[in-house]
Subunit: 120 residues, 4 copies
Amino acid sequence: MAEPDDHSLERLQQRLTRFAAARDWQPFHTPKNLAAALSVEAGELLEIFQWLTPEEAADVMSDPDSAHRVRDEAADVLAYLLQFCSAVGVDPLAALAAKIDRNELRFPVPKGPGTPQAAD
Amino acid sequence: MAEPDDHSLERLQQRLTRFAAARDWQPFHTPKNLAAALSVEAGELLEIFQWLTPEEAADVMSDPDSAHRVRDEAADVLAYLLQFCSAVGVDPLAALAAKIDRNELRFPVPKGPGTPQAAD
Amino acid sequence: MAEPDDHSLERLQQRLTRFAAARDWQPFHTPKNLAAALSVEAGELLEIFQWLTPEEAADVMSDPDSAHRVRDEAADVLAYLLQFCSAVGVDPLAALAAKIDRNELRFPVPKGPGTPQAAD
Amino acid sequence: MAEPDDHSLERLQQRLTRFAAARDWQPFHTPKNLAAALSVEAGELLEIFQWLTPEEAADVMSDPDSAHRVRDEAADVLAYLLQFCSAVGVDPLAALAAKIDRNELRFPVPKGPGTPQAAD
């Protein structure tokens, strides 16, 4: 069913748009509602980790059920982020590239003698 | 500075990894901490909308300051989601594609006579 | 079972402490974990409202199931807030009183001729 | 300015109601908006802890600035929870008491020989 570029961000964003349109969910998918849903889903991802020690959290993917839940909630976060971006007309990849550019200026890499480091 | 494929998800994920490594931030970037940070950033995106009417929220991008803030917070959410996915070894695009596949089975498109609709 | 002052905040905070102690849950109830759990529960409360119009949201308590869910999630938020405050040694009521005092200075009441308004 | 019972939950809830009314903020204080604001504030509380180790988080109140920030954000969470409860007509203390009652049935205390434990 999946074709090679089925996994590009743009293609997935289109699938999400068509998925919602086919079910008449668009009236619910306002920017405000999608921002709320994104926050709710991020909370569900955090819920997996809330009682874990740092060590247990680092090992979360070794349990198949937990691993499935992590992938599922991460997918939900990405789904609502992409739908939010569609609703407000933001290109998420361009926004992130611009943010990293700004952060490279805001947080310069500490350079010491003998430790030359490229910013990126 | 930007090359054509600078905006691919994989390339941005690599930039984020190198950005954190160059600043020795990796010890902080545990799965649990990144899930918390993702949730915090999703809250900051929601904060923009919390007192807006649905109409004001739909018009949020017409104000340059609000538009910048929306792009900035959406970028932060994506940044932490990608860093989280790197930390736990999840491919976010594959996870989303699998989730959409499951949702197409879980929420079949209502079909009536004369309104044939493809699921995707 | 309930006595008159069973519903005081202090009494409920004590019940929560004893509840956790009796189940050996205290090692999990660190300030960081409780702050995460509080955020997760606030997300679950928001989830009830995420797709509702403002009108539907205003009417949420007229449906018994929704009303129960709202009370249940509000209770969870309060439970984790009180447990968090116990863990860090903060008096939530004193903290709120101090915050309202500060906000009354920060947001003075607009006064016009003929519309005398007391700040509190 | 503060009287003995100024710190009761009911009194603080009244102060919050009058504070919002005096500033004509009530139209913004819908159940949905308040649930969103509560979630946003819970995120701001979590933000204090997001990069801390469990040890650093346990010591957060020893730094005066961090301690102030914790009290301030905890107060904000309580403020929005109380305003939310006012908006939907929920008694937060009664809701919590009922929830603890349910949880005592749902999570019975493990009892072993020689370790009799009362549920509360």
